[in-house]
């Protein structure tokens, strides 16, 4: 039995002399690893007399523990090992393009759809090419009615002259919906609309609208006003309030324009709101009885309300996007900004 190989002082001195964390692994191997004196001593235990075994065993265990403790202390003093690879630079860039972006109009449309879905509405859709009945006549625009001149219509070379057209508003979807199902109806109708008008910063021949329709027993103008208030505060925030002023649309009566307090100046008056503190958002009103008669709903039993506004206008107001053409140029810098 020879315990002289287990020279703890020499081992600790060697550990203390180490100058790099990397050396400690070698020392551990040399002092307590496979083939080390401590290893060999432990291996030799089974050949010893039974009486000697605990003594030698304890000596080896004590030596090993002390070496491990010294290694740990020295490792703590030296700090982590120097990496073998060059340093990582995660600011180099991304791997590929990352995620893409929904068009800002789609984002806005989804946001509004979700607000109304949470109020119990469904989302209805219809064709962009319409007939005169759905776009005008059933909506209480008789032929030759001056209100038709309010909307510059793009006609399509189908059917009789001026019978088929690109819808000037999403309102024909109201008619299709009421023709296809009995009340109650609570629906919003987003979609693309067309006007034959000169393009400027705020107007485009092609744009999007979202329209709402509610038909039920006992609906009132107050319900319309409350619904619009709920929507404007959900989209623009609580500090925005809405205002309703009498207006005219053939398919609603009473009709109103609805405006919100200017989001740019908090209603203090600025260039965007022409110093009025108000920004016009869209039109609304109670469904005209003639519209109900056109689709076979009894206007004595049911009342309803409708409202509509331009979709592009929402992000134009929220972010100041202009001109409206920006939405359709698909400049990738614009698309990836939102």
């Amino acid at each position: 039995m020879d315990l002289s190989d287990l020279d703890l002082d020499a081992a600790v001195a060697a550990i203390t002399a180490a100058t790099e964390a990397g050396e400690l692994a070698d020392l551990r191997k040399r002092l307590v690893g496979k083939g080390s004196p401590a290893f060999r001593t432990r291996e030799s235990i089974k050949t010893l007399d039974a009486a000697d075994r605990p003594v030698v065993g304890k000596a080896v265990t004590d030596f090993t523990k002390a070496v491990e403790a010294a290694l740990e202390v020295r490792a703590g003093e030296l700090g982590p090992a120097a990496p073998t690879e060059p340093p990582l630079d995660l600011t180099l860039g991304t791997h590929g393009r990352g995620r893409g972006h929904l068009h800002l109009v789609t984002q806005c449309q989804r946001e509004l759809e979700d607000v109304f879905v949470s109020l119990g509405y469904r989302v209805a859709e219809g064709p962009e090419v319409e007939d005169d009945w759905h776009n005008f006549e059933a909506l209480n625009f008789p032929p030759g009615h001056p209100a038709r001149a309010m909307q510059d219509t793009l006609y399509v070379d189908l059917g009789d002259p001026e019978q088929v057209l690109l819808r000037t508003h999403t309102s024909p979807v109201q008619i299709r919906l009421m023709e296809s199902q009995p009340p109650p109806i609570y629906a919003v109708m987003p979609g693309r609309t067309y006007r034959n008008e000169t393009v400027d910063a705020r107007h485009s021949a092609v744009f999007h609208q979202i329209e709402g329709l509610a038909v039920d027993r006992g609906l009132t103008f107050g319900d319309l006003a409350g619904t619009l208030e709920t929507f404007t505060s959900a989209y623009f925030g609580k500090k925005v309030t809405s205002r309703l002023l009498p207006s005219f649309f053939p398919f609603t009566e009473p009709s109103a324009e609805f405006a919100i307090t200017c989001v740019f100046c908090d209603a203090a008056g600025c260039r965007v709101c022409s110093q009025t503190g108000w920004i016009e958002l869209g039109g609304c009103g109670m469904v005209d009885p003639n519209v109900f008669l056109a689709v076979g709903i009894d206007p004595e039993e049911y009342t309803g309300f409708a409202f509509g506004f331009g979709l592009e206008r929402m992000p134009m107001l929220r972010y100041g996007v202009e001109p409206i053409k920006t939405f359709f140029d698909n400049d990738s810098r614009f698309l990836s900004r939102y």
Binding site: H95, T106, V123, P127, Q163, G222, L245, P254, D331, L335
Partner: protein, 797 residues
């Protein structure tokens, strides 16, 4: 409609501030687009007379005007066509200011010094008129401040009047609403005229009674001259240019009462009388604006007794019998024309006038004679009109006032406010609506609408009036109880959102292109433009085609980006396309398409090198959509498609039906759009995709036993699609084969032309046990045998 405050106060006493009046007008539905106080911003502008107009030596379109302005003379440069010697004008000298904060300075214009300028109506903030210099009263005192002359200390409400409110196209009508709103009386004096003699000096024949239900004419002697300052001032503030006393009076009454009228020069009519008839085919008339108008039988004409056209009824007078400096007698025509006819002719001719705007909304048939008397009353005052004979009044069927049954309970129920019967009745009376109780009907009363409110016909029209009176904004806001219906998106709407989200997740951005495109855009991608639907009156005549595909629009967007130095883009669009209508259907075959284009390079760096886009960028997107929608049975089979490179495209097939194409775009096609190669794309019909078979989604227990992975490589003919090989392996592998995937494609001379090697990675696993070597070898061999047999393949060792 421009409404000067001073004119309103002729009829209603308003002591509110202009801002408060504007607010009231807004609340009444008479939207104030602008509140003009032109005098606030004008300083130093004086009345001047033009002494001589001389040509500008260096500019054809400019002139030099020598002017005198009371205490001096000077010269200004002027480009207006209407300046003449002796004309009295508004002169803004250097140092003067004009609306918009514009300050005048002495400056050279094409080498000639201009000492200030002469002003048009628009420059003085008096409306949009900008065709020439505003002429002032010829007897105006030179050097006078134009604000005093023109009454520019006034305030003008510029109203946007909705098509239903014909009554509000007049000062009196606006005053009536304001009187009701502020609870003060409306005072409109009845005109007083003296008449004598026999009306039969002139004749009137109305042949088209349904188009002119009321027609009046009277003969009036006049002395021509300018109208007085006060009248010119009001007309100018209202945005009309003063012309002569006779014309100004008719315009004045039109603005005041909403009733247009027309003065014909009696001597220039062929025959002293008027005939009202529709036009004949081929007839023409030169109108006051010196434009020859071609007429059609739906146009209504006012002719002289000789049946020669002298005016397009309700729209514009003719040049021939226009009043002029030498006119001594006029035939004054005041009528009620049917709105629809006026609207149609005005629209057809593209000719809108102050008169047509009023007739097409509907004037008051019972106010016609009062307006005629008002014109004569004013002519007596300003044009020395002697007492004339009474008017001829052709009014065979008197238009009765509408009698409307109104239930106050219903009014409250529609508006959502508690209103008692008295409140409803009292809110209507100030608008000129009379109330009559109905015997034995406690629920309702009869509202008798004035004939100046043709928009009041039904109970709901009266509901709107009550709403206006109480203020729509003061109605308590409530929410409907939508308990009968749950909100939500349809399965299709959710699937469409998912498709867009998948594309976005892959790094592609959503575009929105215009659905109206050019024929050439279609030809470029090899689509026949003949089989399309088009707009007949598109403003942009070059782009009349309703897109049958989205790809051309996306390629234009790709080109637009490339032009901005943004050549690496990946765009998709989800939107409607239009095909010719199916047989028996009026409307086009309209459906949703999904299209995608990626161009340039796919950025991978710096970790890997960037790489050019390749066709797998397109098919990967399709596969991701197929996976997200849990579809099965969607295949891509190699086939040529127009727009794509030959041999580098495939059909997208669902349930055996081709729903679109995918592939590498032809560089020539890209170049024709101004886009750069390489670019890859797909376009598919969305609904067949959404309606495709869904894969079995029943849960299968996940085996916990070890897997065995093996690779196989085969040499086969190029004509054998990899998908067919994988399908054969899957069939042969049965339930023990968990996954099979091609991981390498290889060609070489040694393999021979038309042959390639495909390497497939297989993973086997049993659901209930560890696979024994013998089992594994058997199934592995079965896979090899199947491929060798079915595809004339050789196993590579």
């Amino acid at each position: 409609m421009r409404v000067p405050l001073s004119w309103l106060t002729d009829f209603v006493a308003l002591d509110a501030e202009p801002r408060a009046i504007a607010e009231a007008l807004d609340r009444l539905g008479l939207e104030v687009e602008a509140l003009d106080a032109p005098g606030e911003e004008i300083t130093g502008v004086k009345v001047a007379r033009i002494l001589e107009v001389r040509p500008h030596p260096n500019a054809d379109k400019l002139q030099l005007c020598d002017i005198e302005f009371g205490d001096g003379t000077t010269t200004v440069v002027c480009g207006a066509p209407n300046v003449v010697n002796g004309m009295v004008v508004a002169y803004a000298p250097s140092g003067a200011t004009l609306p918009g904060g514009f300050k005048l300075e002495r400056r050279k214009i094409r080498g000639e010094v201009s000492d200030g300028m002469l002003c048009s109506s628009r420059e003085l903030g008096l409306g949009e008129e900008h065709d020439g210099i505003l002429p002032l009263a010829s007897d105006a005192e030179l050097g006078m401040d134009v604000r005093d002359l023109l009454g520019l200390h006034d305030v003008v409400f510029d109203l946007s009047v909705t098509p239903n409110r014909s009554d509000a196209m007049s000062i009196v009508g606006v005053a009536r609403d304001l009187a009701a709103h502020f609870g003060v009386p409306l005072t409109v004096a009845e005109p007083t005229v003296d008449v004598s003699g026999d009306a039969s000096d002139i004749s009137v024949l109305v042949e088209a009674v349904e188009r002119a239900p009321r027609f009046t004419a009277r003969q009036v002697g006049v002395t021509m001259g300018p109208s007085p300052d006060w009248m010119q001032r009001r007309l100018t503030l209202a945005g009309m240019r003063p012309i002569s006393n006779v014309v100004d009076v008719t315009n004045y009454v039109m603005l005041e009462r909403g009733q247009p009228s027309h003065a014909f020069d009696l001597d220039r009519l062929r025959g002293p009388g008027l005939v009202v008839r529709t036009a004949q085919v081929g007839e023409t008339l030169t109108t006051l604006d010196d434009v020859e108008r071609k007429l059609v039988p739906s146009d209504l004409l006012i002719c002289d007794a000789d049946r020669r056209p002298q005016a397009i009824a309700g729209i514009m007078g003719g040049a021939e019998a226009e009043v002029h400096d030498g006119t001594t007698g006029i035939v004054l025509e005041v009528a009620y024309f049917a709105p629809m006819g006026i609207s149609m002719t005005s629209k057809r001719l593209g000719l809108r006038s102050e008169a047509s705007a009023r007739f097409e909304r509907g004037v008051d048939p019972n106010g016609v004679m009062r307006a005629s008397d008002r014109v004569v009353e004013l002519l007596a005052e300003v044009a020395g009109a002697p007492i004339g004979p009474p008017a001829i009044d052709e009014y065979p069927t008197v238009v009765a006032r509408e009698r409307i049954r109104v239930r106050p309970g219903r009014v409250g129920a529609v508006l959502g406010v508690e209103l008692d019967g008295a409140q409803v009745r009292e809110s209507l009376r100030p608008l000129g609506i009379d109330i009559e109780e109905i015997d034995g009907d406690a629920e309702a009363f009869t509202a008798i609408a004035p004939t100046y409110r043709p928009d009041l016909v039904r109970e709901i029209d009266v509901v709107e009036e009550v709403g206006r009176r109480i203020g729509l904004d003061s109605i308590p806001r409530t929410l409907p109880h939508t308990t009968e219906q749950g909100g939500g998106l349809t399965a299709r709407q959710r699937a469409r959102r998912l498709v867009a989200d998948v594309m976005v997740g892959l790094g592609h951005s959503e575009a929105m292109t215009l659905p109206l495109i050019a024929e050439a855009d279609l030809s470029r991608i090899g689509v026949d433009p003949a089989a399309t639907v088009r707009a007949t009156n598109a403003l942009s005549a070059e782009e009349p085609v309703l897109r049958p595909a989205i790809l051309p629009g996306l390629l234009k967007s790709v080109a637009h980006n490339a032009g901005l130095g943004l050549s690496d883009v990946a765009l998709f669009e989800l939107g409607h396309v239009f095909g010719v209508p199916p047989k028996g259907q009026l409307l086009p075959d309209e459906r949703d398409h999904l299209a995608f284009v990626a161009s340039g390079t796919m950025r991978r760096g710096p970790v890997e090198p960037d790489r050019p886009v390749d066709v797998y960028d397109a098919t990967d997107a399709l596969h991701a959509i197929v996976d997200a929608l849990q579809l099965t049975g969607v295949e891509t089979t190699t086939a040529d498609h127009s727009g794509y490179l030959r041999g580098r495209a495939a059909s997208v097939v669902v349930g055996g039906v081709t729903i679109g194409a995918v592939g590498e775009l032809d560089p020539a096609v890209l170049a024709s759009f101004g886009a750069l190669a390489p670019a890859v794309a797909f376009e598919v019909d969305l609904d067949p995709l959404l309606a495709g078979d869904r894969r079995d989604q029943a849960f299968a227990p996940l085996s916990r036993y070890p897997a065995a992975a093996m690779d196989l490589a085969f040499v086969l003919d190029e004509s054998v699609p990899a998908a067919a090989v994988v399908a054969t392996i899957r069939k042969a592998g049965g339930e023990l084969l968990e996954d099979a995937r091609v991981f390498d494609e290889f060609r070489s001379e040694a393999l021979g032309v038309g042959r390639r090697s495909l390497a497939v990675a297989l993973r086997f696993r049993a659901p209930d046990r560890t696979l024994k070597d013998t089992e594994l070898n058997a199934v592995w061999q079965a896979c090899i045998d199947a491929v060798v047999k079915h595809h004339r393949a050789e196993l590579r060792s």
